[in-house]
Every structure is written in structure tokens, then in C-alpha cells.
């Protein structure tokens, strides 16, 4: 049900990678990095995807932007089926989806000046007439808090936070509607993180942007998002709006994740009992038959090992995939 307020609607997205092992005639096996996930983001809002490393959150984001190929699923971006676009239409549509990468040290071309980095998407996606581009670059530098004389510098002359600002200016250049932020602050120093997070919040208001925000830092997610999807081994296990998820987490994995975050808030530290989940996630090439969290779950039941729980709504804007959770 894509209503007119929703900007991005992802249905049954699946990404699998072939894994080579065994002999020539052995059966091909696949690693399901993202397994049948669906979500929706309203215009001007932020959806955060959280999960541990290897849970498939980055792959999901890359697939949404068509930077890795999805095997199944549909991505509806502002009323167009983004997965079916080809050629010129696709190129135009790409201007609407931009990416901010995790590592500002690796994601900027070291041989281009800052202004050329920001100009590149304008040139390659034909955004606006060439005569107006310089003016636009000036405006972008101002918007992300860099001085105009810094346009002539190379990436190595900037600090980490400033580099991430260049990355943000580049993402904003084509006037996108959706910006996918893949761990935008995790490579930065704590004091600089706040600068970038505040900037992202401000830009969202000024340019009415929609964010798909990938992070493993629950504090950052709580600060940034309007709704959250928790991923575990390629599946969404819980999805809810910000308040329901953080105040009333239902899935045992979400509960464990939240309880594991160290806190300076003494009240919170005393109130939360830490739920330990021992062991490691199972082998992703051979996922178990039942619930994928069963081998680490503190409240596992026999049926959890038998059948996979479906993602079911338990309240308005709150969905959980767990056999034990009822309405």
C-alpha cells in the first residue's frame, strides 16, 4: 500500500551471492545476504537499519540503490519501479538516490580537488545547465559548512570530518530525494560525530530529504531515526517506529542488542539487566531450518527450531518475527 506520502517502498528484496565450493558437478549453493525483506520510508523521514556486522544491512542498502544486483523484489521510488528502469531513464533516476559512504578516507578520489569531487555527479548526471554549476557548487560548500576557498584543496588536506562534509556535498549535488547513509559517522572521532549528525539533521530539514540510515550504533540510531528495522542474518526481525522500538522492544535479539549498549545514564544502567547472547550467528551458507536466532536465543522453544517465524504486526507500526510474541 504505497500511499502518496511514501517515497521508497521495498518489497520482498532478496540478494544472494553464489558461493563456490565442492567439485565441478556439486550443487551450486548460495549465500542469502538479504532474504525477503520489505520496508517503506515516508517522504522526509528517516528509516534506520541496525544489526551486527554481516547481518546484511549494507547489502540491502546497496541493492536499493542498484549498486548490487537483487535477485528478487521490487523497489518503488516516488511511484516508479526503480528496478525496471534501463538506460537513460535509469541514469536520470539515479540522480534521485545518492549515497554517503562509511569511510571518508577511501570514498573520495585523492587526485581530484574538492570542487571537482562535488562537480562530478553534476556533470555525469546532467544536473542543470553547465553555466550554473559553479554557483551550485558554491552553495553546496556553504550548506555543508566548508569555506569556498577550500574548494581548491585535495582530500588529504582535509580532516576526517571535513572529508565527510565533502562526501555529503557530493551526495546533495544532484538534488536527490533519498540519501542512503551507510554508517556515515562510525569512522569519525566522537567529537566530530556530533558535528556531522547535526549537519545531517539540518540538511534534512532544509532540503526535505529522506534518509535510509545504516548503523550499528544504537545511540546514533535513536537520535536520528523515525523508524527502525532490526536485521539479523539477512532477515528483518523487528520493525517499528522509534518510540515503540526503544521503549518496548519485543524480539529477544532486539532486547539483547539494546541491553548490550553501555550507557552513561546511571538510571538506565541500573534498570537494564544485560541479556547475554552467547556464541556466534550460524553459518550463513547453511542457515538453520527454523528461526535463525534460535541457537543464541535465551528463550528458545522447540518450535523455534522447526519453523521460521513470519514478520507479523503486533501493534500499529510495530512488526516482530518471533513465535513467542503475540498481539
Amino acid at each position: 500500500m504505497a500511499n502518496d506520502k511514501s517515497l521508497l517502498k521495498v518489497d520482498n528484496l532478496t540478494v544472494r551471492f553464489p558461493v563456490k565450493h565442492g567439485g565441478l558437478f556439486s550443487q551450486k549453493s548460495y549465500l542469502y545476504a538479504v532474504d525477503d525483506i520489505s520496508f517503506e520510508i515516508k517522504r522526509g523521514e528517516t528509516l534506520a537499519i541496525v544489526g551486527e556486522s554481516g547481518s546484511g544491512k549494507t547489502t540491502a542498502a546497496l541493492a536499493v540503490a542498484r549498486l548490487v544486483a537483487a535477485q528478487e523484489g521490487k523497489v518503488d521510488l516516488a511511484g516508479h519501479n526503480f528496478f525496471e528502469l534501463e538506460g537513460e531513464d535509469l541514469r536520470k533516476a539515479r540522480a534521485k538516490v545518492q549515497f554517503i559512504f562509511q569511510d571518508p578516507y577511501a570514498s573520495l578520489n585523492p587526485r581530484l580537488r574538492a570542487e571537482a569531487i562535488v562537480r562530478e555527479p553534476l556533470d555525469s548526471l546532467d544536473a542543470g545547465p553547465p553555466s550554473k554549476r559553479q554557483g551550485k557548487i558554491n552553495a553546496l560548500f556553504k550548506a555543508v559548512g566548508l569555506r569556498s576557498e577550500q574548494q581548491r584543496l585535495f582530500p588529504h588536506q582535509f580532516s576526517g570530518g571535513q572529508r565527510q562534509r565533502i562526501g555529503i556535498a557530493r551526495a546533495l549535488a544532484t538534488q536527490p530525494e533519498l540519501i542512503i547513509c551507510d554508517e556515515p559517522v562510525s569512522a569519525l572521532d566522537v567529537a566530530v560525530q556530533a558535528q556531522i549528525l547535526n549537519l545531517l539533521c539540518k540538511l534534512q530539514k532544509d532540503f526535505s530529504l529522506t534518509y535510509l540510515f545504516i548503523s550499528h550504533d544504537l545511540g546514533v540510531v535513536q537520535h536520528m531515526c523515525d523508524s527502525v528495522a532490526v536485521m539479523y542474518m539477512g532477515k528483518i526481525v523487528e520493525q517499528a517506529d522509534r518510540k515503540s522500538l526503544f521503549n518496548n522492544p519485543q524480539h529477544p535479539y532486539t532486547q539483547a542488542l539494546l541491553s548490550a549498549v553501555p550507557s552513561v545514564d546511571r538510571k538506565r544502567r541500573e534498570e537494564t539487566t544485560r541479556i547475554l547472547i552467547p556464541g556466534d550467528p550460524p553459518d550463513p551458507i547453511n542457515p538453520p531450518k527454523g528461526c535463525r536466532f534460535a541457537n543464541r536465543c535465551p528463550v528458545v522453544e522447540p518450535r523455534c527450531r522447526e519453523s521460521q517465524p513470519a514478520l507479523k504486526a503486533i501493534a500499529k507500526n510495530h512488526m516482530v518475527a518471533c513465535h513467542r510474541v503475540r498481539k
Partner: protein, 328 residues
């Protein structure tokens, strides 16, 4: 009883292209058996350098201890010979490094790497060391240690590798364990397990722990005392609870409030994060006779820019190096 470790007026200098810079400038601290002390600060503030200085692992020809003493068990480590330091390292003082992915040797099994420490420092035989390695793996809660002991590092996950590192560090029951950002590369659930492990081991063996981190949450969870470092100097020092409740240095205050913390009950309002503008000064500015934080501080005035602030003491245990500490 004298403290286990007593560092006095330590000054560590690095030789750079621009000249000699004091990366640690007049640092003093005390550590007793069973204590947990945490160093907090951004990268480039000298947290890791302090640890390397204590361990005698400063980069050769570039870094040196210029003055000050590091008294450990009545012995000055700042003046100890390389041979003596090698006896102490991994035996009395050991360290867990930040990157579990790169600090294990990929061509030896983890059992061999744990046994090496035991054979070297405790003169155990091959079999005895191997059996002790299995015991240690069990102590750091690696499942099925008998089989895992002959695994190579690449066969284990990040969390398990960090646990192997802890097993190596604890092999000789050190008196001091230095953990340099032991969990930054790990997921939160694994981080919680590692913290539990470190806390438990500290209680059992009376090992004093120095935790180096940039995350105030981890500090609050793990440590009793903290030292906030800024640009090679001690900005604030004191009991964790007391400092979090009332930081007396604007940098500490900024570090606590610039990170979005999980709240006990979440409401709709979203306060803007406090920013600490700017970045840590470059090494060239280290050692100047000013408050090095002045360029990023809202409270800075002419005094801050012209004279290094002295340490002021509050409630006995807390101290802050800020001209405005009394007003905060």
C-alpha cells in the same frame, strides 16, 4: 603500601619533521592492584602513547621518554634496559591491542601463540604450555577449547580472536592489563561479552586494568576512575561517577554530551547534540604554554590563550586543568 604503578611527571617526546613535540606532557598517575582506570579522549590525544610508554614500546628512534619516572614494583621502567623490559612485558604487564584481526600471527595456530608466552616467561615445557593454553581458552569462554586450540586465526570470528588476545595477555597472570580500545572493531553484543569477561577476570585475579577508549558509555560501565586526555595533557582526573555527574572541564563535558546516548525512557523530543567545534591541534602546537583546548572552547578568554592552566582539585579526588573549572 606503595601503589602498584606510579607515573610521575612523565614527558614523552616524538621527533617529527617539524621538530620535537611532547605527545605526553607532564602526566602523573597512580594505579593500585585491582583498580580499573580508563583513559578517555579523541584520537591523537596521547592515550595510546601513554600505554606504549609504560610498556616500553615507543616507536624506535622517533619516540623517547624525555623525563619523569614510571615506578612499577619499586623499579623505574623509564630507565629499565630492553632486556629487563622484555621480561616484564607479557609477564607482569600485558596489553590487548585494538585490532584483533591484525594482532595475531596468521601462520601459527592460536594454541602455539598462547603457549609461546608461557614457554618464554614461565619456562613451561611444550606439553604443559599447550595444556595451559587449552585451560586459558576455556577461561575466556571459547566453546570446545580442545579442538579450537589448533585453529588458525582466520578460522575464528572477530570476537573469538579478541578473546584469544585476552587469553594471551592473561597467560602469565599479569599485575597490570592494558586494553587499548579492546572492543572498537566488535559488535555491541560481543563487546558486552568481552567487558563481562574482563570484569570477571579482574575480580578473580586482582589484576589492575587500564582501559583506553573514546566511548564514555564503556568508561561508565567498566572503570572506577578516569583520566581525560587532551593534546598530551591531563584535562581531568577523578572517579567516573563523580565526573559524569559534574565534569569540571569543558572538554569532558563536551565528550559526554556530544554522543547520543540511549535513554531509559525515550520521548518524542530530540535535543540537538552538543558539538565540540574544530579538531585536536596538530603536534606542532603541543607543549605551548597555553590551554591547548582554548581554540575549541566556548569559555576561552585571554588568560586561557596565554598561560597553561594548573590542576585544580575538587572534593579531594577530582582534578581539572582549566582556568574556569570553578565556574563549571
Amino acid at each position: 603500601m606503595p601503589p602498584l604503578l606510579k607515573v610521575e611527571n612523565l614527558r614523552i617526546e616524538l621527533t617529527t619533521r617539524d621538530g620535537v613535540a611532547p605527545v605526553i606532557d607532564d602526566l602523573s598517575l597512580e594505579l593500585n592492584a585491582g583498580d580499573t582506570l580508563s583513559f578517555v579522549g579523541e584520537s591523537g590525544c596521547g592515550k595510546s602513547m601513554t600505554a606504549l610508554g609504560i610498556m616500553g614500546l615507543l616507536p624506535e628512534k622517533v619516540g623517547r621518554i624525555a623525563s619523569g619516572t614510571i615506578m612499577f614494583n619499586g623499579e623505574d621502567l623509564a630507565k629499565a634496559s630492553d632486556v629487563r623490559l622484555r621480561e616484564i612485558r607479557g609477564n607482569d604487564i600485558s596489553m590487548i591491542f585494538q585490532e584483533p584481526m591484525t594482532s595475531l600471527n596468521p601462520v601459527f595456530t592460536i594454541g602455539e601463540q598462547i603457549a609461546e608466552v608461557l614457554r618464554r616467561h614461565q619456562n613451561l615445557g611444550k606439553n604443559a604450555a599447550w595444556n595451559k593454553a587449552i585451560e586459558l581458552l576455556d577461561a575466556v569462554r571459547i566453546p570446545n577449547p580442545k579442538a579450537r586450540v589448533s585453529y588458525y586465526p582466520h578460522q575464528m570470528s572477530g570476537g573469538q580472536r579478541q578473546r584469544v588476545m585476552i587469553a594471551i595477555a592473561l597467560a602469565c597472570e599479569p599485575k597490570i592489563l592494558i586494553a587499548d580500545e579492546p572492543t572498537t572493531a566488535l559488535d555491541v553484543t560481543v563487546q558486552a561479552q568481552i567487558f563481562d569477561l574482563l570484569r570477571g577476570l579482574g575480580r578473580e585475579t586482582g589484576t589492575a586494568t587500564i582501559l583506553i577508549t573514546h566511548d564514555m558509555g564503556s568508561v561508565a560501565e567498566m572503570a572506577e576512575r578516569m583520566i581525560v586526555m587532551y593534546a598530551g595533557r591531563k584535562a581531568e582526573d577523578g572517579p567516573v561517577e563523580q565526573i559524569i555527574k559534574r565534569p569540571r572541564h569543558p572538554y569532558t563535558k563536551g565528550l559526554i554530551s556530544c554522543v547520543p546516548h540511549l535513554m531509559a525512557t525515550l520521548t518524542d523530543d530530540r535535543p540537538e547534540l552538543t558539538e565540540i567545534g574544530g579538531i585536536v591541534p596538530s603536534l606542532r602546537e603541543f607543549g605551548h604554554d597555553t590551554c591547548l583546548f582554548a581554540s575549541r572552547c566556548d569559555l576561552a578568554d585571554d588568560k586561557c590563550r596565554s598561560k597553561r592552566p594548573p590542576e585544580l582539585h575538587f572534593n579531594g579526588e577530582q582534578s581539572s586543568a582549566c582556568w574556569h573549572a570553578k565556574e563549571l
